[in-house]
């Protein structure tokens, strides 16, 4: 104190505020008006929570729908022969399954083969021939069930051993109509209780067939629920009279979802290179598209509401700042007197905006994530929330906060120090 300063006529370094001190100053400014700060932060938090919830819920929904559709068969493509003018279905070439299996995006191929048209399935040999219940009888290989994604509700596939035996697998509805439930039957066929085995067999064509398994309902694979499926080796040996024909009435392929369109375009020429026009290819993706459109329209609506909420949050922050600048003129004057530059003052108010909106954004994102978590748990869905939103949404909040605080902060910086000090 006692030392006398030399009169240096030279330059003075500009006054400076360390970054850490600028942040501390902003935080202490916020703490001095905690209630109002919390409220204005809350406005931002609510809107960010809404945005996060929308994003998470629609993403979870979409993932769920896609998983559901994949499980149901949205990634299943069915190839059938075009029905001819005489009403008779043509057959697909016998080379078709091998050709299709060679396509890289095809994960599995299931082949459905015809049996003689007069073969129908009945509960027993006493049922009149006309009461066929509209059930379809067809021949398949043992891999068919896995290839179409069907699961067994009871029993199991006839397997390689049963492929050449009089055994059948029933679709869910077919089993109900034929009165077969397989309850009380040991999967290995050993029956210690001596249940009447007659109840577990059906009458097909002119022979008894043992029921080895019953499928769960699977409406996505057309006709499967009302099918009676017997082994293709059995059909080959006992049912088909024309052994040169392929008897293929449909191919069901599981295709990687992302290659669905490409595969669909190439399928007809692959299945029957000489007559691609006789091949009909199903279009399961139309369903996916429909569901996605429904989802999107919901998202747009709620996103609109969230945008309004964000605007209200921004107004809240702007209002808090405008009031703060008016209330804290004395403090502004003091800080200028202590050596703050105009832009130090502006920076202080802008940092307060950034903290308020940033905290609001982070809290809002977390709240939104909780909402998504609860909703997906309750609905039994998969929790999906793009991780980028954890950075993106608080970032959006901060940008909104800065825009809202820009005008008040500039105004605070422009107040002449002498005027500000008079106000105190």
């Amino acid at each position: 104190m006692g030392e006398l300063r030399a009169s240096t006529g030279g330059c003075v370094a500009p006054s400076r505020l360390r970054h850490i001190d600028a942040w501390r100053t902003a935080l202490s400014g916020i703490r001095s008006r905690s209630t109002r700060s919390v409220l204005s932060s809350l406005g931002i938090a609510v809107s960010i929570a809404a945005l996060t919830a929308i994003l998470g819920l629609s993403a979870s929904n979409q993932a769920d729908v896609l998983a559901d559709l994949d499980a149901q068969g949205a990634n299943l493509v069915v190839v059938t022969p075009v029905v001819g003018v005489d009403g008779d279905a043509a057959e697909l070439p016998s080379s078709a399954p091998a050709m299709v299996a060679r396509m890289p995006a095809v994960e599995s191929v299931a082949v459905l083969r015809s049996v003689p048209r007069e073969m129908h399935a009945y509960r027993n040999d006493l049922v009149p021939a006309g009461e066929s219940n509209g059930l379809t009888v067809a021949a398949v290989d043992p891999g068919y069930f896995a290839a179409v994604g069907a699961e067994f509700g009871a029993g199991e596939s006839f397997g390689e051993a049963g492929r050449a035996l009089p055994e059948v697998v029933l679709g869910h509805e077919a089993a109900r109509l034929l009165g077969v439930d397989l309850l009380g039957v040991d999967p290995l066929g050993v029956d210690p209780l001596g249940v009447d085995h007659a109840a577990q067999r059906i009458w097909v064509g002119s022979e008894w067939y043992a029921v080895s398994g019953i499928l769960d309902p699977r409406p996505r694979v057309a006709g499967l629920d009302t099918s009676v499926l017997l082994g293709d080796a059995w059909a080959e040996q006992r049912l088909w009279s024309d052994h040169d024909a392929s008897h293929i009435i449909s191919l069901t392929m599981r295709v990687r979802a992302e290659s669905l369109d490409t595969v669909r375009r190439m399928l007809a020429p692959t299945v029957d290179p000489s007559n691609p026009r006789t091949v009909s290819v199903s279009n399961p993706s139309a369903l996916v598209a429909t569901r996605a459109i429904v989802d999107d329209s919901m998202s747009v609506l709620v996103a609109g509401l969230a945008a309004v909420a964000l605007l209200v949050g921004a107004i809240g922050i702007a209002n808090t700042m405008v009031v703060a600048v008016l209330e804290r003129r004395g403090e502004i004057g003091l800080r200028r007197a202590l050596g703050a530059r105009a832009n130090h003052i502006a920076r202080q108010f802008l940092l307060e905006c950034i903290v308020l909106s940033g905290v609001g954004g982070i809290v809002g994102w977390a709240a939104g994530a909780v909402v998504v978590g609860v909703a997906t748990t309750v609905n039994g869905q998969v929790f999906v929330l793009p991780l980028a939103s954890a950075a993106l949404f608080p970032g959006v909040a901060v940008i909104v906060g800065v825009l809202a605080g820009l005008q008040p902060a500039t105004r605070a910086a422009r107040v002449p120090p002498t005027t500000a000090l008079k106000a105190g």
């Binding site: 009169s7 505020l17 202590l338």
Partner: protein, 253 residues
């Protein structure tokens, strides 16, 4: 003042300074003022309200910019400076004390004092330790953690003085520092400011209190923005004669 202080360095120099306000018919709040204040001097700036005291004080502290003339603080001419440099002059060379104290209510005494170093780029730890020292110097070493609301008016103003002193300024400018205090607290603050001057800092006190003004070494009377008189007296003579008679004059009018 004693002979040695006449040799002391000039801390504040105003040369032909004018400042006008208003629109169509501007009012000259400060009109062609020239004066110098040396290190260790304590000056009373008196005058009726509206005489331009506060405006002049703001010009002296580089809070405001003169329309005409030059203001030199610790050798730096602030007239042509940018806001950043003028702010640096305030931060490094000037300490302000206000009638309303301007303590931030949510900060403790030591935090309020540390604010005096905030815009010098000093790190937080140093700011705090120097603030604690400054508070001890004003007799509030036991009140570091108190909030302004827990302190008396006189104590609050001493915290404000400590904040002005913490940066070891060349010049302390006090605007009615006793205006909000009772006479006992006010006298305490004035003694404090006199001891500050005694350690070599130039002090300018704006006051309308004749008693306070009379107790100081030098008195500048302002009227309508102009210096009416500028008198310096020997402290010893002033003490002996009560009111005292001028023995030295440093007028610039």
């Amino acid at each position: 003042m004693t002979g040695e202080s006449l040799e002391a360095e000039t801390v504040l120099e105003l040369a032909g300074v004018s400042r006008s306000f208003g629109g169509a018919v501007p009012v000259r709040a400060v009109d062609d003022v020239s004066l110098t204040v040396r290190a260790g001097e304590i000056v009373a700036l008196v005058g009726s309200s509206g005489s331009g005291k506060s405006t002049l004080l703001a010009l002296m502290g580089a809070l405001d910019v003169a329309d005409l003339g030059a203001v030199r603080i610790a050798g730096h001419d602030v007239s042509g400076m940018t806001d950043a440099h003028r702010s640096a002059v305030r931060a490094r060379f000037v300490g302000f004390v206000f009638q309303q104290f301007f303590l931030l209510p949510t900060l403790s005494a030591v935090e309020n004092v540390a604010l005096g170093l905030l815009y010098t780029g000093t790190d937080a730890r140093t700011r705090r330790s120097r603030a604690a020292l400054a508070l001890e110097r004003v007799g509030l070493g036991a009140r570091l953690a108190h909030r302004p609301s827990q302190l008396s008016g006189g104590e609050q103003q001493r915290v404000a003085v400590a904040r002005a002193l913490v940066g070891e300024p060349s010049l302390v400018l006090a605007d009615e520092p006793t205006g909000a205090l009772d006479s006992v607290s006010g006298a305490g603050v004035m003694r404090l400011l006199q001891s500050v001057a005694g350690r070599g800092t130039a002090v300018v006190v704006v006051t309308h209190d004749r008693e306070i003004a009379g107790a100081l070494d030098r008195r500048i009377v302002l009227s309508d923005g102009r210096i009416l008189s500028d008198e310096t007296r020997r402290v010893a003579a002033a003490h002996a004669a009560g009111v005292g008679s001028p023995s030295e004059t440093e007028g610039h009018v």
